[in-house]
Symmetry: C2
Subunit: 369 residues, 2 copies
């Protein structure tokens, strides 16, 4: 019998455009393919390198068909059998459930871990410690979420309520989860923070593949049967034809609704606190902050640095258009220069980029998104 750690298989669902990072992130160049920390590694590659050492088996990536080339370029180590290409977006439940089903068909005792492709996590050692605790906890028959310890009363995340310690050997910090709660208002978020019983739901979890599928079978039986059908054909010559036939029929729903919340109600969910620095790099303010922390400089220049002339300027400048960029006397500015679109805003208004994206969607600017 293999140990829990030996049965661990990481999965990276690589989806989402990251529209608050427009015009750097696009449908064709989503956030997870960007190098936002100026070290030459995309967020996807960083995620892969963080996960690979935890597993003796392969890492699986689930992404859209159009990203196949970019993903294999970023992860040359990836085997074709571990690259799940979605012919169309069918939301997170289908993507993650299919990964679970394929992995379980190869190892029925598999413990899967699902980690977004576009988060920044440091230090890696601390992340490994946390995931190992989550694996031990999952092996006791739990779906284990990794809860991010809140640093502020954010209204941008869902929260996980986990008030009671569990007693799991090898996982001293594991807690019992009694509920997931949706993004709260500011007052509620402040209460959550003060109580100490809540962590942010960052969508990271570790669980036995069979337990995930069991909960899915109960809540979404058709979706469950569909992914099992694809998984059965996956490592055979029928993979492509079954995928093509079945995928478009799968129910579109989020993994939180289909599995995590019902499982929590059934007492099957645990939480291990993510006691590492975590950032979902939600906007250019976050990109600026992360780089500032890394370099100690209050101006971050991404892209073609030699094209940039910046004087008395702080904030972030991304020069990706092969053009000269001159910025003078601007504090906390965000300048993102790409071939077909330019963004100028401030770090404090960085969230509002989505307003412009919405406007482009409405008024025929879709080719820029």
């Amino acid at each position: 019998m293999k140990t829990p750690q030996e049965r661990f298989y990481p999965v990276i669902p690589a989806g989402g455009v990251g529209s608050r990072l427009w015009p750097l992130s696009r449908a064709a160049a989503p956030k997870f393919l960007l190098d936002l920390t100026g070290d030459g590694l995309s967020l996807l590659r960083q995620t892969y390198e963080r996960l690979a050492p935890l597993s003796s088996g392969p890492v699986m990536v689930v992404t859209g068909e159009s990203h196949a080339n970019a993903v294999t370029q970023q992860i040359p180590e990836l085997r074709g059998a571990d690259l799940v290409l979605e012919p169309s977006p069918r939301d997170s439940a289908a993507a993650i459930a299919l990964a679970c089903a394929i992995i379980r068909s190869r190892d029925e005792d598999a413990i899967v871990g699902s980690f977004a492709a576009d988060h920044v996590i440091n230090p890696v050692e601390q992340f490994h410690t946390v995931v190992r605790e989550a694996i031990e906890t999952a092996a006791t028959g739990k779906i284990v979420t990794i809860g991010i310890e809140p640093t502020e009363p954010s209204t941008a995340f869902g929260y996980i309520r986990a008030p009671k310690p569990l007693d799991v050997p090898g996982a001293p910090s594991a807690q019992e989860v009694d509920s997931f709660v949706e993004k709260p208002d500011a007052a509620t978020a402040a209460e959550y923070l003060a109580s100490g019983n809540y962590t942010w739901n960052a969508g990271m979890f570790v669980a036995p593949a069979s337990l995930m599928l069991e909960h899915l079978r109960r809540t979404e039986p058709e979706l469950h049967d569909g992914v099992l059908k694809i998984a059965a054909a996956w490592d055979t010559p029928e993979r492509e034809s079954v995928m093509e036939q079945t995928w478009p029929t799968l129910t579109k729903t989020a993994i939180d609704y289909a599995v995590a919340e019902p499982a929590a109600a059934a007492g099957d969910v645990a939480m291990v606190p993510g006691s590492f620095d975590w950032d979902d790099v939600g906007d250019f303010d976050a990109v600026a902050r992360l780089n500032q922390e890394k370099t100690g400089e209050d101006l971050t220049i991404l892209g073609e640095k030699s094209e940039v002339i910046a004087r008395d300027t702080t904030g972030i400048i991304a020069a990706n258009a092969g053009r000269r960029v001159v910025v003078i006397g601007m504090d906390d500015v965000v300048v993102v220069d790409t071939e077909d679109a330019l963004l100028v805003t401030s770090r404090k208004d960085a969230q509002r980029v989505k307003e412009a994206v919405a406007q482009l969607k409405k008024h025929g600017g879709t080719k820029l998104l």
Copy 2:
């Protein structure tokens, strides 16, 4: 005998890049060829239209050879004989003296008026009243500068000291000039403003061509003889060969040193106050101010307006690169987007664009200038 007004010939020296308007203004697209007020007219065209009604004769333009096509496109009315193309830059004395010499060879009683191609002046009627006074004053044997009434203790201009009224029929506001003074420091500028005896030297003057040339003959005899030689050949088949041979030998000096200052010392200079709104559009702050005054809007968009999405933004956006430009939450910003260079600064730092231009000059960015 013709009246002074009938002997008036306007000259437009169209030179200077306007480097504080970079990257909009370039060697190849200098300030005078730009439309900075969004009404589809270049500053040169506006200057021409302001001057043409004052004269029954032709308007003359002096500019660099490389601008020949652009200038004739802007002023299709211009005859070839009234377009003086400098094979190389030889400073303002050569340019203006040659214009005077050509015009005098056609009308020995000519009164010339020289007006920069890149100033904004309103209202036109008031400008005409002032120039007509200057013409009457010039006809009494004076070099007449048009002094701009200072609105602030600016250190960016030279000043004209003219403390005593003259008594010229048809020119009630003409004053006697006793000196030109160089750009002062802030304290001196404040004194000048308080005294009421000083106006800004904006380089506009009206004078008998023969008086201009007489002063030039005394201070710069070689330059004088050179321009007379070219002028003698101008309306003959030898124009081009004499120009090519003689122009490069002309002394490089400014008209202020060669003529205006010595003439003032000799008591030959008068001043008529320019009682109109005047702006030399020195930087993007001025461009923003002029447009704001015109439209009442605190955001000016130049270029491809339909490409710009601006939210909660004031200042100026020039979209000249055929790209989408999104600006969010920026106050008094300056965003100038051109095909090969982008500028982002604030209205208050608009003057500092010249720092970037200097840096480009030093570090191999000359092709962008």
